[in-house]
């Protein structure tokens, strides 16, 4: 025994939940731009469309950053453990990586970032 009001309410509830599935489960988005920070200050903001090799001067020396086919990586770094290089290529909006010894960090920007912030 369901009244018409029940049916309306249940249809609205199901519609709302379906909308949430679409809204909250959308595929992660590829990054459009990379923001490169030295010592927490933004130094460069570059589109990922064109391939480029960039030398960024950090606390220890030069971090060489490579942009290729919409993704970005640390190509070489003056740090000792090279963790930044081992992170490999990043291409998703909201992705973040850093070379802490050299104080160079970068994150990818998109029109719709997947994360607001990441803390390490």
């Amino acid at each position: 025994m369901m009244t018409w009001a029940d049916k309306v309410v249940i249809c609205m509830a199901v519609g709302f939940v379906l909308f949430l599935y679409v809204w909250l489960w959308q595929a992660p988005q590829e990054g459009d731009e990379v923001s490169i920070l030295v010592n927490g200050q933004q130094q460069y903001r570059i589109a990922l469309q064109q391939d480029k090799i960039l030398d960024v001067v950090g606390g220890l020396g030069i971090s060489r950053i490579e942009i290729k086919a919409g993704s970005v990586r640390f190509f070489s770094s003056p740090c000792s453990n090279k963790q930044c290089i081992h992170r490999g290529w990043l291409d998703q909006a909201g992705d973040f990586m850093a070379c802490l010894p050299n104080k160079v960090s970068l994150y990818l920007l998109g029109s719709n970032n997947h994360y607001d912030a990441i803390n390490f």
Binding site: T3, A5, V9, I10, L24
Partner: protein
């Protein structure tokens, strides 16, 4: 000095119904759950029956007694579990209160149960997000939790309806009371 407390008929009714709800609440807590925060919530069948037969104020009493006494018995009083349970109960009662102010909106027990169950889940989720796990990833869980809320709400509503049909004429109405504040 001696203080004498007299339990009115209404007090006794609240106590009896709350005891029933607490029993279901405790039995249900023994069921294994695939996801934290997910359980059928059949104790709220009692809340809904009280709401439909005796009005919102009595439902509030029964529901809050269930949350407080249930948590004391299970040893979760003032723990995260308790806060989630309390926020859920308060949210669903707010929704039921709003509906009763709008004189029922023509909803049967099934519609009421689905709305109350979703409000319960959203209230719990808000507390879980703001107080315990303020992480974006939690939102990936929300659609699944709300889908389950609709299903369990529907089942609870159906059971409530069947129980009310079988009870018809046998309960003791205190004043008058469908959707009475």
């Amino acid at each position: 000095m001696k203080i004498k407390l007299v339990a009115s008929k209404e007090d006794q009714l609240v106590a009896n119904l709350a005891a029933l709800a607490i029993g279901i609440h405790i039995l249900e807590s023994a069921l294994p759950s695939p996801l934290p925060g997910v359980k059928p919530g059949f104790a709220n069948i009692i809340t809904l029956i009280v709401f439909l037969l005796y009005g919102w104020r009595m439902a509030l009493w029964v529901s809050l007694l269930r949350v407080f006494v249930g948590s004391l018995v299970l040893g979760t009083f003032l723990s995260p579990t308790f806060l989630l349970s309390l926020s859920g109960a308060l949210c669903s009662l707010l929704v039921l209160g709003a509906i009763s102010c709008l004189s029922g909106l023509g909803l049967s027990a099934i519609g009421l149960a689905v709305l109350a169950s979703m409000a319960h889940m959203l209230g719990q989720f808000a507390v879980a997000y703001y107080l315990f796990i303020p992480h974006q990833a939690l939102f990936n869980l929300l659609p699944v939790l709300l889908s389950l809320a609709i299903v369990f709400g529907w089942v609870s509503g159906f059971i409530t309806q069947q129980l009310l049909v079988r009870m018809s004429g046998k309960h003791e109405p205190i004043n008058r009371p469908n959707y009475h504040n």
